[in-house]
């Protein structure tokens, strides 16, 4: 009897443990690079990628309340040199780029305004999901040809996240320590066609 009780308690503890483990991962659902492909067009290479931006309620609340959010898309072209077979390699970042978009809600027009910081080009969307979808679509991004003469051992990795330091001052400390704002996706290697 005692033994059975004991086993029961252990089983319950195990369940709680697994629940705790998964709840943390479920909660921290980050952005995700769904696909990334490099295609050769003529002499050059272009990147097509799709990034998913599942926003947490905290971020959504901020957007709805008119807080502009800066999304970052980072690209790195890494040259790997194998020194000891596959055991040890030397990675050299040849090129890196950072594309930034500002997303904000325009109350008067009830539009979500997506603005590329670098090019200052602006697109408007009536719904947030459409805006995020548009943000996540990277189409025919031209890669710098000077580094792409030899694609051997060359990797393009990309990731995306929110620039927390661009948030208004009062929000920043909270956002920096809150998991609800830590949405940066892991680095993903683009695939060569």
């Amino acid at each position: 009897m005692v033994f059975i009780m004991h086993a029961f308690v252990i089983a319950r503890l195990k369940i709680i443990f697994w629940l705790l483990l998964f709840s943390s991962t479920v909660h921290a659902q980050t952005f995700e690079v769904a696909s990334a492909q490099i295609s050769k067009i003529g002499n050059g290479y272009v990147l097509n990628a799709e990034i998913k931006y599942p926003l947490t309620p905290r971020v959504l609340e901020a957007i709805v309340n008119g807080v502009p959010i800066i999304f970052e898309q980072e690209f790195e072209l890494v040259k790997s040199t194998y020194l000891l077979g596959n055991y040890w390699q030397w990675n050299e970042t040849l090129w890196s780029a950072d594309i930034r978009h500002e997303l904000r809600y325009h109350a008067l027009s009830q539009q979500y305004v997506l603005q590329a910081i670098d090019t200052n080009s602006q697109r408007n969307f009536p719904t947030l999901s459409v805006a995020l979808q548009a943000l996540g679509q990277i189409k025919d991004l031209t890669l710098p040809p000077e580094y792409l003469e030899d694609t051997e051992n060359l990797t393009l990795q990309l990731r995306s996240g929110i620039d927390l330091y661009a948030l208004p001052t009062p929000m920043r400390p909270g956002a920096l320590i809150s998991s609800k704002w830590q949405l940066t996706s892991p680095w993903v290697d683009a695939q060569w066609d």
């Binding site: 609340e61 901020a62 309340n65 008119g66 807080v67 809600y105 325009h106 109350a107 008067l108 027009s109 009830q110 539009q111 305004v113 200052n120 602006q122 697109r123 408007n124 969307f125 009536p126 719904t127 459409v130 979808q133 548009a134 330091y165 208004p168 001052t169 009062p170 929000m171 920043r172 400390p173 909270g174 920096l176 320590i177």
Partner: protein, 721 residues
């Protein structure tokens, strides 16, 4: 040196100053970081973390300080109580004041931030936004209608005329841009009001989606700083198999409306954002304020502990110093307090006090030493005096007595100090006359001067006493001298004078008397009848014999009075005694015994006169025994004697006669001090004279059970080895 520096940094004022400066810096950084336009914005978390770290450090330091304080209190260390009380007071004060300031600050912070927002303002903004939308809505409906008309027009036209017509339509409608798209998203044709532009604004997916739902689209389109109106309407399909198309028209908004709309939009967004940021703003401010308040609080308490210790430290030293002084250590000197406050004054006063105390003690010790020296000096003087000196207090107790007094009275007075004078008389009967005399004069209370006779074994002792009242009525000092010898000498001198006169006055007529009597007998004897011759012979014989006796007596007197120089020669005393004894051994009734005759002692003496001494003594002893009709049994002994570091020859002569009557013991050696029927009464007086001429002593004692003992003591300084 490095260690010294670290120690100094740890113990001095430096850590507090450093802490104060770092706290101020931290407060400045925190306040700067919470401001919107500061560069330190991004470092807020870092600075906040630093603040937390300093807070933890402070908690540690404060905990340590409090623990030490508690430990000191538990072990009852000096000053711990006062320190604790001061710290408690300070801490209470700090806590109360800080709490009040903190709660008011928080209150004002909340109220201040919340006061930026107002329901009415919010409603007004919402309404103005709504109003703007309505205003734009009217224009939008007009434009939508206009666009529909354009699509109706365009749908009638053949494909070849589209470009031209669209350009015309653009000019007519006042639109910024007209573009014709297929539903697949392909641009058919476009026209711009501004000829510089060539690429049309592509409609987004949502518009496509809406058009696919057979709904026309009209909406406000923010384009950077301007507002535009975008309309998208499907073209009616006139022919079968015709591709579905739609027209997108972008209209400008008139400048005033655009500017107004923009203002409303900006104000609304700003207000909304601010309202949204209110909570985090309050949180950040509250956190910052709390951190600074906590830091200030802990630092203040720490400082309170430090300052309390600093205040209490001199007091603590003062307490320890007072205890030291109380336990007799007058040399206690406190580290001079540098402060010019009351505590510094107290410490300086304490030091002055201990200095004075030390001086006073030194003075006391000096005077004590002087007193002691004086006492020693006095006692030395007293002890070297031959007179006896005693003091008696008002309780009639003996306070002091010098050595001579003990010697004169034959009582160890040093052991009798503090005993009442009556008791002394009771315990030692022979000094009772003196104590009675003292008693008598004590009651009369005046200086006195009187002679007293004491009776003891060696005979009568005459003391000359003087009593003097001590100053301040503190008792009496009594000085007495043994005048026995002096009196005896006076008597002896008187007798000598008498003897000399007697010898001189009487001796001269004696010889003519004797010669006359002799002639009388020779001349008248033959002339007288036979029966009367006997009478004459008897009478003249009596005269002659009596004159002879008188002559002897006068000779004795002249012997006594004579004072010839001694003929000192080395002489063995045993030999001398034996020679004298030999003359007496012819009588078988006389028994003489000489003890200690094994060794002989030689000394300088006048043998003739010592012979006379021995003869006189023997004769005296024999006569005394015979007169009492007792057996003549005389024991002689002689031996050396060590007394007070001097060597003496002691000759004792004891008999078994009747002894000496008590009243005669003292005057035995004086002329005519005799109870015998025979003799001149000068025998023992001559003995004494001769012995004294030899610087010796002679006295008599009665022995038990009967008999007397004559003791002669001659100094052996000049003894011949």
């Amino acid at each position: 040196m490095g260690l010294d520096l670290i120690k100094h940094l740890r113990t001095g004022v430096t850590p507090y100053v450093l802490l104060g400066i770092s706290l101020l810096a931290l407060a400045y950084l925190l306040s700067a970081a919470t401001q919107d336009s500061s560069r330190l914005n991004d470092l807020f978390l870092l600075i906040f973390g630093l603040g937390i770290a300093i807070l933890a450090l402070l908690i540690g330091i404060l905990g340590r300080s409090l623990f030490r304080l508690y430990r000191d209190f538990k072990t009852n260390k000096e000053g711990a109580r006062l320190t604790l009380r001061l710290v408690s007071l300070f801490a209470l004060l700090i806590l109360v004041s800080t709490t009040i300031v903190y709660s008011f600050s928080i209150h004002f912070l909340h109220r201040g931030i919340n006061s930026w927002f107002d329901v009415k303002v919010e409603q007004a903004l919402n309404d103005s936004l709504e109003l703007s939308r309505t205003a734009f809505g009217i224009r939008m409906r007009t434009l939508l209608r206009q666009t529909r008309m354009m699509t109706g027009l365009l749908s009638e036209l053949p494909s070849s005329d589209l470009n031209h017509n669209i350009r015309e339509l653009t000019q007519l409608s006042g639109a910024i841009e007209l573009s014709l798209w297929t539903m697949g998203g392909q641009l058919i044709t476009t026209s711009f009001e501004n000829p510089d532009l060539i690429i049309p604004s592509r409609p987004n997916e949502a518009i496509f989606h809406q058009l696919e739902q057979q709904e026309d689209y009209i909406g406000l389109d923010p384009d950077h700083d301007n507002l535009q109106l975008r309309a998208a309407v499907r073209l009616p399909i006139k022919k079968a198999n015709q591709e579905e198309r739609f027209l997108q028209v972008i209209f400008p908004v008139n400048a005033q409306l655009s500017s107004l709309g923009k203002t409303v939009q900006t104000a609304y967004t700003d207000y909304k954002e601010l309202s949204y940021l209110r909570k985090p703003l309050i949180t950040v401010f509250t956190l910052t304020l709390s951190l600074i308040v906590l830091l200030t609080l802990l630092a203040s308490i720490w400082f309170a502990i430090w300052i309390s210790r600093r205040i209490v430290e001199p007091l603590q030293e003062l307490a320890a110093g007072t205890q030291a002084v109380a336990s007799g250590n007058y040399n206690t000197k406190l580290r001079s307090a540098s402060g010019h406050d009351e505590i510094g004054f107290l410490v300086r006063s304490f030091n002055q006090m201990t200095q004075r105390l030390t001086q006073a003690r030194h003075a006391t010790q000096n005077s004590h030493r002087q007193l002691e020296q004086q006492t020693n000096y006095l006692s030395a003087v007293l002890s070297s005096l031959s007179s006896g000196v005693i003091t008696i207090d008002n309780e009639r107790q003996l306070r002091t007595a010098n050595l001579a007094s003990s010697k004169i009275l034959h009582v160890n007075l040093q052991q009798r100090l503090e005993s009442v004078i009556d008791k002394l008389g009771e315990n030692h009967p022979h000094v009772r006359p003196l104590t009675q005399l003292i008693e008598h004069h004590l009651t009369h209370g005046d200086d006195w001067h009187q002679q007293v006779e004491l009776q003891h074994k060696k005979g009568l002792q005459s003391l000359m006493c003087r009593g003097t009242l001590l100053p301040n009525n503190a008792g009496w000092v009594i000085v007495f001298d043994d005048v026995t010898t002096l009196l005896q000498a006076q008597r002896n001198a008187a007798w000598g004078e008498v003897a000399k006169r007697l010898a001189h006055e009487i001796k001269n007529p004696l010889t003519p008397i004797q010669l006359s009597a002799d002639r009388l007998q020779h001349k008248y004897l033959p002339l007288l009848p036979e029966d009367q011759t006997h009478t004459l012979t008897k009478l003249t014989g009596t005269i002659i014999s009596q004159v002879e006796a008188m002559k002897e007596m006068v000779n004795d007197f002249s012997d006594y009075a004579r004072n010839p120089g001694l003929q000192l020669q080395p002489q063995a005393i045993g030999q001398l005694i034996k020679e004298v004894l030999a003359l007496y051994q012819s009588n078988p009734n006389h028994q003489f015994t000489l003890l200690n005759s094994t060794e002989d002692i030689t000394l300088n003496l006048d043998s003739t006169r010592i012979r006379q001494v021995l003869h006189n003594l023997f004769k005296n002893a024999i006569e005394a025994s015979e007169e009492a009709q007792l057996a003549v049994d005389i024991i002689l002994s002689y031996h050396t004697l060590d007394l007070d570091g001097h060597q003496y020859l002691e000759i004792t002569l004891s008999d078994h006669g009747p002894g000496i009557p008590d009243d005669m013991v003292n005057t035995l050696f004086e002329p005519y001090a005799t109870n015998k029927t025979k003799g001149t009464g000068l025998g023992l007086a001559i003995v004494k004279k001769i012995i004294e001429e030899h610087h010796g002593q002679v006295w008599a004692e009665n022995t038990e059970p009967s008999g007397a003992c004559i003791i002669i003591r001659l100094p052996l300084e000049d003894a011949i080895p």
